[in-house]
Amino acid sequence: MERKKQRARSDPGRAMLLTVMVFFFLGFFLLAIKDGSWQCFVLSVLVPAIVFFGTTVISRLFPSDKLLLALTNFLCALGVLMLYRISPTRGMTQALNYGVGVVCMILSAMLVRYMPKTKTLTILMMIGSLGFLTLPILIGTETNGAKNWMSVGGYSMQPSEIVKLALLWCLAYMLSQRKYILSILFGGACLLILMLQKDLGTALLYYALCLVLLYASTGSLLLVGTGLAGGAGAAVVGYQMFAHVKARLAIWQDPWQYTQGAGLQIVRSFVAIANGGLWGVGLGLGNAGNSTRAGGIPEAYNDFIFPVILHEFGTIFGLIVLGMYLFIVIRAVMIARRSRTVFYGLLAIGCATLIAVQTFVIIGGNIKLIPLTGVTLPFISYGGTSMVSSLCVIGFLQGIASRNAAGVDEDRALAMEGGGLR
């Protein structure tokens, strides 16, 4: 009993989990005091409960990375909090998405943990993902210049978010089998379909994933250089072909010229960040999230959620959130370094790349570091597909971490047997 207590005291996850739960209880409780809505009171208990469930249940099923779980759950719950602040309906939907995402995370972790990497599964994934990615061209709807959404049974979804996971799995498998030509062809086909959909933000993400995995697998600078040159060529072609790319580049160069038009979002984002200052205006006191009020950002719930966080919680808190993303990426790289086989190493590197590039592209776009492209902020932005795919990436990492732990146990058992040769 005493030993159990001691172990609990020395467990760093316990204190961390408690801090995260207190944060969200206070956040939702504060909003509940303001609105006086029972939904918010329910969320002040429900969200910390999902955080607790998402962090502890997986680690009871099999050895997993609790730090990664705690950080991910913090960011997901922050998304629910901010979305509830912007629009209570969206907040409730996002809480549901979060719950579904946690279940998907557990399933994807179990897939990696228990499923042997099979050739048949990879071939099926390749065929399925190419077909799935083509669907929006045929039956999709155009949003913000890109035809990447489609409706199924009243629910709208973005196939490229799901295919992202299949691309990651297939590339990691094929590159681990040293099938370079096939992997380049598959990655190229996916990119081509995305170009046809004019979904350049996701295309950029896929491109970065292919390039990083190729480099991690081959170590060939020549191959990466060729890929970069090809990417630069494709960017020029995209600029010439698509009017909305030209417009976004022009806005990036000088958004103040377009304050009443397409540049409104980014200009309001700057104003919101500046108003927030170091400490923010206070939760529930800002107006950046409400597009109907003066100073409100139109896409605050989706692409521009980070400026809203900076506005209400302040720049210091924004840096803290960035630090969390950085820790998640570092942790993913650590998992990749500890993995026992090339396939799992590449899979973990791919997960790190997806999170890092997606975060950089959207936050860079928000603060005018790079031209704005329409990708979601992982774990935080509104959207069921985005939440599920981001949590599945974390599920992959959990599965690999669990395999690594099993590998260390195996090595320990071998060492106990004498460790020598037969």
Partner: protein, 278 residues
């Protein structure tokens, strides 16, 4: 709640939120550094982590650690690098499969022998299985404790280096292969040729014939028995050092290579264990 009271509360709470956020980041940092330190320490106690054994070049006596998966070839980035003019840059891939052994998949156009037989598709190596690529003969040695089918008996290298005599059974099969030229024919199947696989031993001090090329001329080197199904087994003994020397001579290796002792990457650890009596 009154708007002004809420405003005051929310403005106070923003410091609490930043504090809690900073606490989470600080705890994450400490957790990560503690975990990295603990992992490094654990890896120090498990120097063979991630390995499943070693591959020994029988000509030079050089042993290379064998990871769970990787490549064999002549390129610098191969996991098992062999210096042989007939070896391709990536000659074969390998991966360890629980319960089956080391799966070796030759590259397209790669010619290699596994236990004396040409490997055209994936094949499995067990402990002691010889692999031949060009003029290089490699031998797979797996850790005790791994779940693989029982291999042929093979003595510990320490015993070999000590010069102890041992015997090892050889098995072979009928097939058409150059190296079998001059080998005794099986009664009733004279047109066939017998190819041994595995390495063997003759009495210590006896002249060594690693490829058994002079076997017919000098039958004193071995004693063979034919079995009913056309298989042949025989026993003979010599030390691994003698075998290595003979192979160096036959392969035209330089004088420096001769006399190179068998150097296992695990030898230091074994010695340390012996010294400490653990």
């Amino acid at each position: 709640m009154a708007a002004s009271a809420y405003e005051l509360l929310a403005m106070l709470m923003r410091y609490v939120f930043v504090l809690l956020g900073a606490l989470i980041v600080w705890r994450s940092f400490r957790w990560m550094s503690r975990d990295a330190r603990a992992y490094r320490q654990e890896m120090r106690t498990l120097p063979d982590a991630g390995l499943v054994g070693e591959i020994v070049n029988l000509a030079t006596g050089e042993g290379q650690p064998l990871p769970r998966e990787g490549t064999i070839g002549s390129s610098w980035d191969s996991d098992i690098r062999i210096k042989d003019s007939q070896a391709l840059r990536t000659h074969a891939r390998f991966e360890f499969e629980e319960g089956k052994g080391l799966k070796v998949i030759p590259a397209r156009r790669a010619y290699m022998l596994l236990s004396g037989q040409e490997l055209r598709g994936p094949g499995y190596c067990l402990h002691g299985t010889p692999l031949q690529i060009g003029n290089t003969t490699l031998r797979v040695r797996l850790f005790a404790g791994l779940k693989v089918p029982s291999p042929v008996e093979y003595p510990e290298p320490d015993a070999l280096l000590g010069g102890d005599s041992y015997t090892e059974s050889w098995e072979g099969e009928l097939q058409d292969w150059d190296r079998a030229q001059g080998f005794p024919a099986i009664p009733g199947q004279e047109q066939e040729e017998y190819v041994p696989y595995g390495t063997g031993a003759v009495p210590l001090g006896a002249p060594v014939d690693p490829y058994l090329e002079n076997a017919e001329a000098d039958p004193a080197h071995y004693e063979g028995n034919y079995t009913e199904d056309g298989q042949m087994t025989w026993q003979y003994a010599y030390s691994l050092q003698d075998l290595q020397r003979a192979m160096i001579e036959q392969n035209g290796a330089s004088d420096e290579a001769e006399g190179v002792k068998y150097q296992s990457p695990l030898a230091n650890r074994r010695r340390r264990r012996k010294r400490h009596g653990t």
